[in-house]
């Protein structure tokens, strides 16, 4: 009896596993594994004139937590999140930027059009700092605490719905 139905059982279990594997929700994005660890060493030249560049040393000796926003002028979702970053900067949240694969003239045009929330702005033409931080695209945003430890990582544009989680992480990083 068991022998007779064994092939059917095998088939059903295979189909079951296949259905589960195809429908189960899974994380599609690659989150940085560095949350909870010190910012890896990087030093970026200034992206535009008149604004300092950004290095891991700047982040390790700051008075409190800072937002680090990885963006690019050629990136559409970055335009979508720009108003929110401006609002946060208006509240007094210190924000540093990393411009990925970008040109100074394009960055200036972007900041002119969408506002400039950044205190420091590093130029990352080869995505080196982006990869060092474990980010896999633009835009992504990190919270780095005053001792230079990465405390929070957000992927994709920051939207109003993301603010509660961001603020909670911010309070924790203080």
């Amino acid at each position: 009896m068991v022998r007779r139905f064994l092939p059917l059982l095998l088939l059903l279990s295979f189909v079951g596993i296949a259905i589960w594997a195809l429908t189960a929700e899974r994380e599609e994005q690659v989150r940085s594994k560095l949350v909870g660890q010190p910012v890896p060493a990087f030093a970026l030249e200034p992206a535009i004139e008149g604004k300092p560049g950004l290095s891991s040393a700047d982040l390790a000796q700051s008075e409190g937590p800072r937002l680090v926003n990885i963006f690019a002028s050629w990136c559409l979702p970055c335009k979508a999140e720009a108003p929110l970053l401006d609002a946060l900067a208006g509240e007094g949240v210190p924000i540093d930027g990393i411009a990925v694969r970008d040109r100074p003239s394009d960055i200036l045009a972007f900041l002119d059009e969408h506002g400039d929330p950044f205190e420091r702005l590093g130029n990352d033409p080869r995505s080196e700092a982006m990869i060092a931080l474990g980010a896999s695209g633009v835009p992504e945003t990190f919270i780095v605490d005053g001792r230079g430890v990465i405390r929070y990582h957000h992927q994709g544009p920051l939207m109003p719905a993301d603010l509660p989680a961001l603020r909670a992480a911010w309070e924790e990083a203080r």
Binding site: S32, K33, V100, R101, R103, P125, S136
Partner: protein, 136 residues
């Protein structure tokens, strides 16, 4: 006709606009001068996952980010880093997922290595039974 060409041109230009307009990194599409180093870099690039186009290796992908990762691999190989060190650097950041080669020292991958052995044993056992049957 001209209008049609314009529309076709527009269609072709949109995907480009989604990425940066900077020239690719030095070593994104250029081989290392040392053939041995290039071979090591190329082998590693086949085994690293492109982060933005997820099903491809960085050797296969045209994405800007894959170009920057190829640059990173070649530059570090040139500086004398071993492929294992570079792989570890990326795994530290993006998890095991970034590497297409399952690490034998991690228990989670053991079933993957044990399965073929197990299947061979089962097959051998089945074949043995089959050969034995007609004898009595």
């Amino acid at each position: 006709m001209r209008k049609l060409l314009f529309v076709i041109g527009l269609g072709l230009s949109l995907p480009l606009a989604a990425q940066g307009s900077l020239a690719p990194a030095d070593y994104a599409n250029r081989q290392l001068e040392d053939a041995g180093q290039e071979a090591r870099a190329a082998a590693l690039m086949e085994e690293l996952r492109c982060l933005v186009c997820q099903g491809q290796s960085i050797a296969d992908s045209d994405a800007d980010m894959a170009g920057d990762m190829r640059h990173l691999v070649r530059e570090r190989i040139q500086r004398g880093e071993s492929p294992a060190e570079i792989r570890d650097y990326l795994i530290e950041r993006y998890g095991e997922w970034v590497s297409y080669r399952p690490a034998p020292e991690r228990p989670i991958f053991w079933p993957l290595y044990l399965a073929p052995v197990l299947l061979l044993l089962i097959a051998g056992w089945m074949v043995r039974r089959r050969f034995r049957r007609p004898r009595p």
